[in-house]
Symmetry: C2
């Protein structure tokens, strides 16, 4: 089974439109350093599953291999905007799972097209999303948001964005689950003035330590983290990395 | 001065996700036949102006030449979705003009970022959007929607999407304005079962005839029109064409 980080950027992405910082300039020169909207994919013998749908190449990617299901963390634009066009496709419907959120996004519920919005998942109740079992864990964000835990063939994975800190019950669950691989929101550099909706780097590292995961990957990253890394101002403990778009793990 | 049709597709675009009709298959083989979300651009000595912002390459396009202003026809997703990311850019703000629409789209009004939403334009009142004068004309659609008329150096242009028919006052105005070039919504093939929000082809052709424009370009096109054209089932009167993405006129 494969787990892929298909997008590792925050809401602005890298490069940020109009920004000439060293990280954004580098990403324009070399697309390997670009960061798209935070999202992930799971490939198994049963099919392909997407976590979130904000990526700008969603349609092209789904044409290459039609997803068996889409799992949403929450209904912010950078996590669902690709559905605005995808829904108008043809063929078999695509089940969409996620947290309870009456509002959803724009008119997606009203005009779902080929999307089949399933009843909301329930926190800490394992759910079969068509051949794959996932465990939704509540995160701390401005909209109802789930992280997802899953047991691969070889490794346990936790995907934890968007969040600022973790609800106590979720942290307790994760300590017991002991993921081998955890991806977590680390939008902001420490000291960076920010909203109260995402982790700073130090916060993210502390959470990874508390969970006790061996491999900890920082995602939903803003360009300032890339700048800091580029300028040698970022020291990460062993087993901690900045995510990259396209990075894939055998799980 | 240049007028460019940067996107000529309906809400699904061409190719439609998952569709294997001859038109969608052709577009997959040859990107020149792809249709992105309906939109346009005006290039003048004063700068670059965008009409609508639904295109999937909005950011890349704006990085090449930063627009002086963005003019919105209305707040449906396929006309504004690119703003969801563009707003998080940096640098000088970008003025955004459009019709009065209290709802706007998602949280764009609440978190405008670098977008500077200007007071709503008023029907039939010419407006300077930063070096370019445009005339907003009401269209008939499910949301408040403006078409735009403008006087180029050599030619008068009318951009008329999204609409089903035209309000009487707008048609009267256009007969007097006598555009040299008009782009108009022709989403559906005649006889195609459809919503009541967009023109069928026959309706669009009748409106172009009524307005008396010499060059009439059909836009906001669905794949079924391309299929009909591809299979030789589409006969257009002289001076009438299907739009193409990227098509540019000296105006
Ligand atoms: Mn969010
Ligand atoms: Mn986000
Ligand atoms: Mn519309
Ligand atoms: Mn439209
Ligand atoms: Zn930057
Ligand atoms: Zn088709």
């Amino acid at each position: 089974m494969l787990f892929r980080c298909s997008g590792s950027g925050d809401v602005a992405g890298v490069p940020v439109f109009g920004c000439n910082c060293p990280a954004c300039a580098r990403a324009r020169r070399d697309p390997r350093h670009c960061r798209g909207p935070a999202s992930a994919e799971i490939d198994s013998d049963h099919g392909r599953y997407l976590i979130d749908a904000g990526r700008h190449d969603l349609i092209q990617s789904c044409e290459q291999r039609r997803p068996r299901a889409i799992l949403l963390t929450h209904y912010h634009a950078d996590h669902v905007q690709g559905l605005l066009t995808l829904r108008w496709g043809v063929g078999e419907s695509i089940p969409v799972f996620g947290p309870r959120d009456e509002r959803g996004f724009d008119d997606l519920y009203k005009h779902p097209g080929i999307l089949d919005f399933r009843p909301p998942l329930r926190a800490f109740e394992p759910c079969d999303i068509g051949g794959l079992t996932v465990m939704p864990v509540p995160l701390a964000h401005s909209r109802p948001t789930f992280g997802y835990c899953l047991q691969g063939v070889r490794r346990r994975v936790a995907y934890l964005t968007d969040t600022v800190g973790l609800p106590a019950e979720t942290e307790r669950f994760l300590r017991a689950f002991r993921p081998d691989l955890a991806l977590i929101d680390a939008t902001y550099l420490d000291g960076q003035d920010a909203g109260s909706n995402h982790n700073h780097l130090g916060q993210a590292l502390a959470l990874l330590a508390a969970i006790g995961t061996r491999q900890g990957v920082l995602t939903h990253l803003g360009h300032r983290l890339d700048c800091a890394a580029l300028e040698g101002r970022l020291e990460l403990p062993q087993g901690r990395w900045l995510a990259e778009d396209g990075q894939t793990w055998e799980i």
